[in-house]
Symmetry: C2
Subunit: 237 residues, 2 copies
């Protein structure tokens, strides 16, 4: 079975590189989030809302606004990076050229850019705030879960039109998640989505996985997302 | 680059096996359809509607109802096969055990079952109608497009909540398609979906790809799907 042997080698070297990159991020006080979902579940819109929300005076006093860097992963094109960069945040687009996921090798040329952008000038005497690295993975509910990244938390988005049966069918993605976001709750009146079914199947896969319900479109539920995120940035979780 | 070398070998042997299986299907007058999409776009519901519709007296005189066999592909579980089998149709569930797609090797034990189920008894003197094999691939807008199956047509579903920017981001899937179905048009009033953007990006990838708009939930637009399907079954397309 040569294919399996090769896959194992690739995964092992990916994980070792991810671990080394994670140490670099930690030395620079960077907290990393890896956002994964199927195509069109709302990853990019969540990134846009997050960048705006963390900088909003109503959510954060100016002294508490973290530096942010966004990495966009897509097979082709820079649609998402252009959307995110319009929010005046450092952003790099990775084109995977056909690959169905981001891996740590693809991030090798990106990490130095992240460290440079998120490291404050030496003259600064302000207390060091943690910075935030957001990686938006390729839209795919299967493959991205197999590749460790240097990020600290995996956030999976499932949107209500996709249906509540997805954890049973894609268990690895949910077992690797630190937070499950149910997005597009504004569409609940028009789709078949059974929260009880969802919670029961999540319980079988990862019993303590926190679940946040929100709509990136209407903004409902975003408070819970920001609370979760700030706990991770402050190291209180 | 050992990884690329191995991948090429696997793909080449997959394609050769798919070609051999296709010849077996053709000898038995079986037309094969491979349905692909992201998770939750409506593949299984389309299969259910198709099975019921082809047997409905209002759509088909009884003498024209094809024999049908359905193959359900999922990483884990038999949720979809149970849904489809409830419509009293021959159905096999393939569990890919983590793999992000169906390939022809996985179909090896299935093809003999298909041939057995779809071959009429020798005593039958009725004229030989073509039979229909429907393969529902793993929910994934990336990997399934890379693996040829023994089927004759690739049908890709994109649902309106996923957004109209998907062809630009997942071009291989759309370039490999023989039909693009835009599903969940009943949700158009509640989501951002731009048909002009969709058609323009499809045009750049595959200029003559036919596009059918429908809702598997309300049934709107299904007539066009059945017309497309019957043309393929009758060999008139």
């Amino acid at each position: 079975m040569p294919r399996i042997t090769v896959l194992r080698k690739v995964l092992a070297s990916n994980d070792a590189l991810a671990e080394a990159q994670r140490r670099q991020l930690e030395a620079a006080h960077v907290v990393g989030i890896n956002i994964m979902s199927a195509p069109g579940s709302g990853k990019t819109t969540l990134v846009e809302r997050t960048v705006d929300g963390l900088r909003s005076p109503s959510r954060n006093p100016k002294s508490q606004v973290p530096r942010i860097f966004v990495v966009e992963g897509d097979i082709k094109g820079d649609l998402d990076a252009r959307r995110v960069a319009a929010h005046e945040v450092n952003c790099v687009q990775i084109n995977t050229q056909g690959d169905c996921h981001i891996d740590s090798l693809m991030l090798s040329p990106v990490i130095p850019l992240v460290l440079k952008a998120l490291t404050p000038r030496q003259s600064s005497r302000a207390p060091r705030l943690p910075s935030l690295l957001i990686i938006e993975n390729v839209g795919n509910l299967v493959c991205p879960a197999e590749f460790q990244l240097p990020t600290h938390y995996n956030v999976t988005i499932l949107s209500t039109p996709e249906g509540s049966d997805k954890p049973t069918k894609y268990p690895l993605m949910f077992s690797k998640s630190d937070l499950l976001i149910i997005n597009k709750i504004d569409l609940l009146p028009y789709v078949d989505f059974n929260f009880r079914q969802l919670e029961q199947s999540v319980k079988r896969i990862k019993p303590n996985l926190p679940i946040i319900r929100l709509s990136t479109r209407t903004g409902e539920g975003l408070d819970s997302w920001f609370a979760w995120l700030k706990q991770r940035l402050s190291g209180k979780a």
